[in-house]
């Protein structure tokens, strides 16, 4: 089945230790998104790639970066995680402006 896959599902890191979350998709969608979702809150868009064009939200901390080496893969890098970065990180994809399909998320814990 075509889908959005996120690895790992759970990630534990130490305060200040860089961490990378990955997302892959078999939908062949040209747009990929990264969202941060904290407990009992709505998903918050961090960035998205429209094809190869990178779009950063104005309030996304500099601590967060992203890479999209090809259509299928997208990575979220957190350079120096703080306690406030503990959250669920959701990857989503879409074909242009059509429906966004979300992956299962990676839950990040910062110790």
């Amino acid at each position: 089945d075509a889908m959005v896959i996120q690895n790992p599902r759970y990630q534990v890191t130490q305060f200040g230790k860089p961490v990378t979350l990955s997302c892959s998709q078999t939908l062949n969608h040209n747009v990929m998104y990264w969202y941060q979702q904290k407990s009992s809150q709505a998903p918050k868009l961090l960035f998205h790639y429209y094809d190869k064009d990178f779009n950063n939200e104005a309030d996304t901390p500099d601590n967060f970066q992203s890479r999209r080496p090809n259509t299928s893969f997208c990575f979220l890098d957190i350079r120096s995680p703080g306690l406030g970065d503990a959250a669920m990180y959701l990857c989503a994809t879409s074909r242009g402006r059509e429906t966004q399909y979300f992956g299962p998320g990676t839950r990040l814990l910062v110790l």
Partner: protein, 111 residues
């Protein structure tokens, strides 16, 4: 600024009852209004969506009612079931499919 306002924050409904969740938006550029359902530990999944040229859309037990002049839309879940217990997010979408989510409604359906 909250571009999409959602209420109530939580909702408890008896099995077989009607669940109603309301949303209001400010941005008249929004032209796509999806509802997402999210179970604990999972990513959001598209439930149903509507465009502003339609006043109502029904899919099974789920209905969206849309009032363009009032900039409001609502989700009605008929014959609510315990399996419908989840968090529901409304959203509005403008250019590039960027989604602006409401804060979410936690629905509990008692058996």
């Amino acid at each position: 600024q909250q571009q999409v306002k959602q209420s109530p924050q939580s909702l408890i409904v008896q099995k077989g009852g009607i669940s109603i969740i309301n949303c209001a938006y400010e941005n008249t550029a929004f032209d796509y209004f999806p509802w997402y359902q999210q179970f604990p530990g999972k990513g959001p999944a598209l439930l149903i969506a509507i465009r502003p040229d339609v006043s109502e859309k029904k899919e099974g037990r789920f209905t969206i009612s849309f009032n363009k002049s009032a900039k409001q839309f609502s989700l009605h879940i008929m014959d609510s079931q315990p399996g419908d217990s989840a968090t529901y997010f409304c959203a509005g979408s403008s250019t590039l499919g960027r989604l602006y989510f409401g804060r979410g409604t936690q629905l509990t359906v008692w058996p």
